[in-house]
């Protein structure tokens, strides 16, 4: 009778679990990133002087916002976290590791059916592997460090059935944007969304990550995908142990069920000033760009850079366009080097940087200046999010096509 999120919560709580109930929730992973991490440490030391975190082995720092630090306040904050971590015996995924939510999955620390908090509003990206992740403020995370648990209001669940099939160069990013176009930023507010149907089942791990990473933009608590065999195998490999998925009961009750047909889905672009301001790439085509950003927790996986290279196919970025490739994690970066992708993108004129959030977190790679128009594979285009310029959100394929042409371009034109 329970949905995915209800089952995960019930396995981690002694309280009655039903939509709307407030429950104490045990956490398998408690983490803080360099953004917010220093405040977590300060709160912890102020309220729990001399005390230990609940379980050092389940507590982590994941530096990913400004990595390596390029300003003294961030360097100070990171060092404050490192020193706290050393005193507590807590592991730090340092400035070389990459985006925390991705690192936690790759390390087998965030697994299907588990619960994770971090000072990251996109921690729910782990819904891609059927894991419950939540972003929380520094006081909440300080408490989670101390207690090993947190509290949560059990969200109502809705079901979205994705029918049909989309065709390259339409990608999972366009599917995520199609969901935003359909539901906007408020219809799924506070809901746990479960994805079903042939177009959902078919999604690869990387594609699932892309879709789940935009739950926050939809206002959803998370987008949960019942783990496929591929996902379970990957997570098992990461964990070095067999992992099991959590699936909804057949008679689970949903607040609503929606259907969406993705047959013939076109490449889409979310125009400033909001991720829900979605238009067809062909409708925005022609807008001149100054830069193109490839990366973020939405499109920073190896598959995304392969798609980028596939569209570039040896062509360089246009004159006057700066292209940035920022792998989500060090492992992705390593694979790009091994596969020759980094060299290929470098030859196409890209700045290929170390792993992290990059411009998406106002880090040093890819921030825009006033008047600069950027296509970006990230998930947010609010004014100021990636700098002072205008950000158009799109898939790696659309961003690559645009980089080649120097203007927003429907990838079907060049792919």
């Amino acid at each position: 009778m329970a949905t995915i999120v209800e089952k995960i919560i019930a396995a981690h709580s002694a309280d009655d679990v039903y939509a709307g109930a407030t429950v104490w929730l045990e956490l398998d992973v408690r983490a803080a990133r360099d953004f917010g991490g220093a405040s977590v440490v300060k709160n912890f030391e102020k309220h729990y002087p001399g005390q230990k975190v609940a379980e050092a082995g389940k507590t982590f720092f994941t530096f990913d916002c400004v990595v390596p630090a390029n300003n003294i306040p961030y360097a100070n904050n990171q060092q404050l976290c490192r020193e706290f971590a050393a005193r507590q015996g807590v592991k730090v995924f340092d400035v070389d590791a990459g985006i925390g939510s991705h690192v936690l999955m790759e390390e087998g620390l965030a697994r299907p059916g588990q619960t994770v908090v971090n000072t990251d509003s996109h921690m729910n990206v782990v819904g891609a592997i059927g894991c419950l992740g939540q972003g929380m403020g520094d006081a909440d995370v300080a408490f989670a460090f101390r207690a090993g648990w947190t509290w949560l209001e059990v969200p109502p669940s809705v079901k979205v059935v994705l029918n049909g099939k989309f065709k390259w160069p339409t990608t999972a990013k366009d599917l995520a944007l199609a969901l935003l176009r359909e539901f906007g930023s408020s219809r799924l507010l506070g809901k746990a969304v479960e994805l079903y149907g042939p177009a959902a089942e078919r999604l690869s791990l990387e594609e699932r990550i892309t879709v789940a990473s935009m739950a926050t933009e939809m206002g959803a608590v998370g987008i949960f995908m019942p783990p496929s065999d591929e996902v379970l195998e990957w997570c098992g490999g990461a964990a070095g142990a067999e992992v099991e998925g959590v699936y909804a009961d057949e008679d689970a009750s949903y607040e609503a069920t929606y259907e969406l047909d993705v047959d013939g889905l076109e490449p889409l672009v979310a125009c400033p000033p909001s991720p829900a301001n979605v238009k067809s790439a062909s409708d925005v085509a022609g807008r001149e760009i100054g830069s193109a950003f490839f990366g973020s927790c939405t499109n920073g996986r190896l598959e995304d850079f392969r798609a980028t290279a596939r569209v570039m196919s040896g062509r360089p970025a246009a004159d006057g366009v700066v292209a940035y490739a920022v792998p989500a994690t060090r492992r992705v970066y390593g694979a790009m080097l091994a596969e020759g992708l980094a060299a290929e993108l470098f030859s196409a004129g890209f700045v290929v940087s170390n792993a992290g959030c990059g411009g998406c977190a106002q880090g040093q790679i890819g921030m825009t200046g006033k008047g600069e128009v950027q296509v970006s594979t990230s998930n947010r285009n609010f004014p100021g999010k990636q700098g002072a310029g205008e950000t158009y959100l799109c898939s790696p394929a659309t961003a690559a096509a645009s980089a080649i042409m120097g203007r927003i371009t429907d990838p079907r034109e060049v792919a």
Partner: protein
């Protein structure tokens, strides 16, 4: 610390507009303007409460410790700023009862151990400024003592009771066994 009361009683401030009906969607920027976000001392936040809500700018001068707020739907939507809760605590406002709240606002109030109750039938109490309001956190009953009316509201969950009794989430953590 002395046990905190589960029944609160005090003069009410219904946060209404010119027509006398509850203002809905009062966001965190109207409650506590972003111009004052640099303030970190909770005691200093009181003077800015409702500083950006038309008709209510003088609230900090009028409010007295022990007063209770009654608010409309989706109160505290918007940003995650804790200031929008702390400014009322600084004034000594005993708690808030409302039609509904923004999720993060509810979380921040709960974590601060500041009593917040959701009461969809609040309008039936016909609250006038200064009427005595009684909120029972445990049973969920909300009453207009002055007019002799009462309606049900959502009682505190175990989580809310634990946190409230300890005086806030971080304080609750300090009571846990190491």
């Amino acid at each position: 610390m002395a046990a905190r009361p589960f029944v609160l009683e005090g003069p009410v401030w219904p946060i209404v507009g010119a027509l006398g009906t509850f203002l809905n969607d009062v966001d965190t920027d109207q409650i506590y303007h972003n111009a004052h976000l640099a303030v970190t001392d909770v005691d200093e936040m009181g003077q800015y409460a409702f500083g950006n809500l038309a008709g209510w700018e003088d609230f900090p001068k009028k409010a007295k410790p022990g007063d209770i707020l009654a608010v409309g739907a989706n109160f505290g939507a918007g940003s995650s700023r804790q200031h929008a809760v702390d400014c009322f605590r600084a004034l000594g406002v005993a708690g808030v009862v409302g039609l509904s709240f923004g999720a993060i606002y509810k979380r921040n109030a709960t974590n601060a151990g500041w009593p917040l109750m959701e009461c969809p039938r609040l309008a039936e109490l016909e609250l006038a400024p200064g009427d005595v309001l009684r909120m029972n956190l445990e049973t969920g009953k909300v009453a207009n003592v002055t007019k002799g009316k009462a309606v049900p509201a959502r009682p505190f969950s175990r989580v809310q009771k634990d946190i409230y009794s300890a005086g806030g989430l971080l304080a609750y953590g300090a009571k846990l066994a190491s």
